[in-house]
Structure formats: C-alpha cells, structure tokens
C-alpha cells in the first residue's frame, strides 16, 4: 500500500477525428497493487491502455511515471520505461517454443549467435519466480499449450524485462474454471511481488478476487477510482452502467434539471 503511484495519468484526452473517446481521464497505478479497470463495451478501456502503451498518442494531459513526467510516443518508449501490456490475443507465435516467444525481437546475443543457455535460464527463473508449475518444458512449442498456459507464458514474457507496470487485457476470458483460478492467482502474485498491475475485466468476481483498487470508466470519463475494501458489487455495477452510485462517481447530468429523482443504490436487485 505505497503512498505514491507508480504511474499517474491526469486529464488525458483522446479523439479520433470528431469522436472524443477519452475526456479528462485520470488513473493511478500503485506498486504492489492490482488496479482493475472496468467499464462497459466502448467506455474507453482499450483506448486508455493503448495510450499508456504508446500505440496511440494522447491529445492532452500528463503521464507521470515514478514521479517524472514522461511522453510515450511508441510501444518501445513504454517498454523502455518498464510498462508491458498483455493483449487479449496474447500475440504469441504458435510455431516457436516458450523461450523463443518470451525473447521474440529482444533476443540475447553472445557475439553473433543467440545466447540460448542464458535465455533459457532467464525464462526458467521468471516462470519459477511466478511459481508456475504447469509448464513441463521450456522448449515446448506454444501451439501445444493450453489456454491457461499460453496466458501464463504471455504474462511471464511481460514480467521478464524487469517491468514495473503490467497491463492485462481480459486475461481470464475464454478460460476454463481451473485455468481461470490459476491465472487469477498469478495476477495476484505479480502484484505481491511488487509490480503495479492493471487488470481489465468484465467479470466482477475476477475483479473482486484480486484487485486492491477499482477504476470505473463510463462513456470515456473516469467515474471513480475506489478501493476494493470500500465498495460493494452493486456499487461497482452502478458505476459501470450509470457512471455514479450514491455519492460516488460523476456528478449527475445537470442539463436534466429536475427531470428525474436520484436512483438510490439499495433500490434495485443486488
């Protein structure tokens, strides 16, 4: 529970032509914590992640990383800072083995040849550090791995580079029960090892199972960033679907005047 955020976004705006996708968005990512980023489809979660990862450049706003203002113009900038993203499609190559995948594009060299022993050692140490016991051989082709194991390899690849912030986009989507459980435990372990983890998920159980903070996006605005020890399931659902819950969240739309009454959180089904 560190006091200063590792990564801090303030007043971030992003438009695609006439469509403004992010409005004055802020986000804090703390080391040793899992921050869940939740929101409905189209709320701007992916855009926000791509802004952090350097795939999109932001139109306005500041990004502060370890207390310094930084500009992220490309994915290389992001990974140089220590920010890694694991996308939903994982971006692994089926025809390569685990070690080759983990070092793809950043291979260790020994003179003019690849330094296979070092890479294998590093890959093995990383997986061991994450207490991953499900992978039998590091030289297995990724094509032969199960969904959960692929996710594990993709996460290990992100951790390998001494990264400090790891962003995971829906890591448990399309996994079975046992594998979902293992991936959730892995996500938690990343944070317990001191990383700042951002978890994008639609599954409220996943969010509550591992996160310390929950940031809810609503139509391109940050409705609220709350601690997981302070909110209930129904409050988070309201933040996602209405942008506000009781005194949490965005101010009510003033343009409506006295059009309708406040919807109390206890009113609807839990």
């Amino acid at each position: 529970m560190a006091a200063t955020p590792l990564l801090e976004l303030r007043g971030v705006n992003k438009s695609f032509g006439p469509v403004q996708v992010l409005h004055d968005v802020g986000l804090d990512v703390y080391p040793g914590e899992v921050t869940a980023l939740v929101g409905d489809n189209g709320a701007g979660k992916s855009t926000m992640v791509k802004c952090i990862a350097g795939i999109y450049t932001i139109d306005a706003g500041t990004v502060t990383y370890e207390g310094r203002k930084v500009a992220i113009h490309s994915p290389r900038d992001a990974s140089a800072l220590g920010i890694e993203v694991v996308y939903q499609d994982l971006a692994l190559c089926d025809n390569l083995d685990i070690v080759q995948n983990m070092f793809l594009g950043r291979e260790k060299m020994s003179g003019v040849v690849l330094d296979e022993p070092t890479m294998e050692q590093m890959a093995g140490d990383t997986l061991a550090g994450l207490s991953v016991r499900t992978v039998k051989s590091l030289r297995q082709l990724v094509a032969s791995l199960s969904g959960g194991q692929r996710q594990t390899v993709a996460i290990a690849k992100a951790v390998l580079w001494n990264s400090k912030v790891v962003i995971l986009d829906e890591p448990t989507a399309a996994l079975g029960v046992a594998q979902t459980a293992q991936v959730l435990e892995l996500v938690r372990r990343l944070a317990d090892n001191g990383l700042g983890v951002v978890l994008i998920s639609h599954n409220m159980n996943d969010v509550f199972a591992v996160s310390d903070r929950i940031a809810a996006l609503y139509l391109g605005r940050m409705a609220a960033q709350v601690k997981a020890t302070d909110v209930t399931h129904s409050q988070v659902v309201e933040l996602i679907t209405a942008g506000r819950s009781g005194n949490l969240g965005l101010p009510s739309e003033s343009s409506n005047g006295n059009g309708y009454a406040d919807i109390t959180p206890s009113g609807d089904e839990r």
Binding site: V177, N205, V210
Partner: protein, 392 residues
C-alpha cells in the same frame, strides 16, 4: 536472579536459528546468513561447520556469479537425508508423506476415506503407508520424528481426538493406537489440520511476513488456523479456532456438532450442494462441479455459489472485526468458492466489517494448496530438531 544465558545456551540457540532459517528459506549463501541473522562471519562459519558435521546441512560453492571475489558458500538443508513422517486425517482422505528438512515432500501415499469410516479402520492404511515408505529410505538418512494432523479437535498431549464432528469421531485415542501400530516410530506430535496448514502458509506460503493471519479451510465443515501477533492462537486445550461453529444464524439448520446455525451449516459442502439441488452428491468433486456449473452459467449453481459467498463474507467480516487480520486465506474448497464468489464475499465483508478493521485486509488463496497439511504435520516433528539441532 538468574544469570544470563551461558555460552553453550547461546550457541545452541544460534544453531537452531540458523537451521530454521535454511529450513524455511531454502539454500542461502553464508554472506546472506550473516546479514539476515545479524551474526558475524566467523560465527556463521563455525555454526554451519557444526551443522554440516551433524549431517543437517551441506555446503557448496555456487555457480559462477560473474562478480569479483570469492563467492560465498551456499548452505542448504539436507532434505534428502533428514526427514519426518507426516500423517494427515481428513474428512475424505487419509494421507501420509515422508517430508525432508526444508519442507520438501520426498514420498507420499494417499487413499480415500469413505464417510463414516471408524477410526480403527483408518489407522491400518496409514500405518501401512508409513511402513511402505520406510522401505525406500536410504540407510544413511536420519529420522527426526512424526507429525499427525487431524481435521478435528485433538488433544496435543496424547493425540486423543476429542471431537471431530465432520469425520464423526468422538473421544477416540487415535494418537495412541497409531503410535502402537507403527511400533518404533518414536515421538508422534499431533495438531489440528487447519492450524498446521496456517503455520506453513505463514512460514513459507501466502502469508510470509504477515503476523496477523486467518487461514480458513473448507470441506464438509470449516476449520481455521489463526495467527495473531505472529503466534498461533490455539486456546487453553488447543481446541480453539473452530470458526466453523461460530453461530451466525440461530434460526438456521442443525449442525453436526449438535448446535444450530453454525457458520459451516451456511458455507460448508452440504449447504452449497443443497442450494444447487445436488443433495445426493458429496465430496470435493461435487463442490467443484457446482463451481464449474456456476461459471458455465447454470443459474441454480450460480445462486448457490452467491448464497454461500454472501454467508462466507458475513463470517469473515465478523472475524475481521475481532482479529483485524492482515490476510485471510481461503483453503480447501473455499479457495475455489472464493474465486467465483469474490464479489459477494467482498461486498458483504465491506458492509459489515468496521472500516479500520478491513482497510488493509488481503484476501488470498493458499500458495501450497493441499500440501500445506502434510508439510505442517512434518513441521510439528521438525520443531523438536529446530529447538535443539544437536540433541540425540
């Protein structure tokens, strides 16, 4: 007035501390031991020499470090040579293992325990397991003792199982009969299943470095191991921590213990299966099937999981208010229930626990899973060795 500790006592204490460190943390370099234990280099050298002379640790030069200077020797526990037997009696299974110093499981055996099996019938397979494993022990290995973990209330002095409602035993002399059956087994130390599991998660699992921890273990019933201020809370007779029999619903169902509305009648296996409409099933598999069905969208299973999650949060909230723990660990089938019902658990917990008691609470799943009970039972036996490494 008592004089200060003698040199001999200090030495024994230091030997125990060093051995305990490598037992818990695994192979450690002499240099690191020096800084971790706050002893000077020559003392560490003398202590490790003495321990390796006794065959408890080995020393070796590490792989190339790539740094300047002579690398510090690495001290590792002699896991393959120093061992204890661990026996675990649970509701649905009987397990035995040979565990090496350092908490490494060297060999293990397991069999199912049908519900309602009387204790006499449980002793024979367990004793058989130990005899079987003994055949594979190398000649130069050193046996330090045996530990027994029982999922029930057990008297530490002699292993008398006072009451194990979920297993169905009352006042059965398990420790005595098991000891007699095994013959020359020497010291048999007994403990509660959840207690010893908590101890292991605290020393080398999900709760390392945390001094206020509640470990919950769920199967048919719910047991707990509570660590407060870095110490195990077991109560006067060692029977404490029975959180499963905390009454949460006085109008609720009768419990196997004779009371009504105990926490385990709302969150245990029977409650989950009943709400899921699968009363005919039983056991861990049946619980996991409900969890799986809930994830796949079976609405009755989802209702059952949510119901249990809600009650689980209710009890955890009460415990949070009483103990203000840093972590609550969900073991046994509660691990799987936690991961699919975390939203309900958290919501209820946040609603009833006081803000100051819940603000830093971490909800975690165990790191050692079901091995914790076996390693923990062995830990009971290793405790004697660690207290005085050169004894015997």
């Amino acid at each position: 007035m008592r004089a200060g500790p003698s040199q001999e006592e200090v030495r024994r204490h230091n030997l125990g501390t060093l051995l305990r460190y490598v037992h818990v943390h695994g192979a450690t370099s002499r240099a690191e031991l020096t800084s971790r234990l706050g002893l000077n280099r020559s003392t560490i050298g003398a202590l490790t020499t003495e321990l390796s002379g006794a065959g408890l640790v080995s020393e070796e030069t590490p792989r190339e470090t790539g740094r300047a200077g002579r690398p510090s020797l690495v001290v590792r526990p002699q896991s393959a040579r120093v061992y204890a037997y661990a026996i675990s009696i649970e509701v649905d299974r009987l397990r035995a293992a040979r565990v090496g110093l350092g908490g490494r499981i060297l060999d293990r055996r397991e069999t199912e325990r049908p519900r309602g099996m009387p204790f006499e019938d449980a002793i024979r397979p367990l004793a058989g397991f130990v005899r079987e494993m003994r055949k594979a022990v190398p000649d130069d290995a050193r046996y330090v003792g045996s530990g027994l973990a029982v999922a029930g209330m057990v008297r530490r002095a002699d292993g008398m199982v006072r009451l194990a409602p979920t297993i169905g035993w009352v006042e059965e002399p398990v420790g005595e009969v098991l000891g007699a059956e095994l013959g020359d087994i020497g010291m048999l130390t007994v403990g509660n299943h959840a207690d010893v599991s908590a101890l292991v998660e605290h020393s080398r699992g999900a709760a390392v470095g945390l001094d206020n921890v509640i470990y919950l273990y769920g199967d048919v019933g719910v047991g707990s191991g509570i660590i407060a201020g870095g110490r195990r809370v077991t109560g006067h007779g060692g029977y404490g921590g029975e959180v499963g029999h905390m009454v949460v619903n006085p109008q609720g169902r009768p419990c196997s213990c004779g009371s009504r509305g105990c926490w385990e009648t709302e969150i245990g296996e029977y409650a989950l299966l009943k709400h899921a409409g699968r009363e005919a099933d039983s056991g861990r598999e049946a619980v996991l099937n409900v969890v799986e069905a809930a994830m796949r969208g079976d609405s009755q299973a989802q209702r059952a999981v949510r119901h249990v999650g809600d009650w689980l949060g209710f009890g955890v909230g009460n415990l949070a208010n009483i103990f203000n723990p840093e972590a609550v660990i969900f073991g046994g089938t509660l691990r799987d229930i936690y991961l699919v019902a975390a939203a309900q658990i958290r919501s209820r917990l946040n609603a009833i626990a006081l803000p100051v008691c819940r603000e830093h609470i971490r909800l975690r799943t165990p790191e050692l899973g079901n091995d914790a009970a076996l390693i923990g039972a062995a830990e009971l036996a290793f405790e004697h060795l660690l207290a005085d490494p050169l004894l015997s």
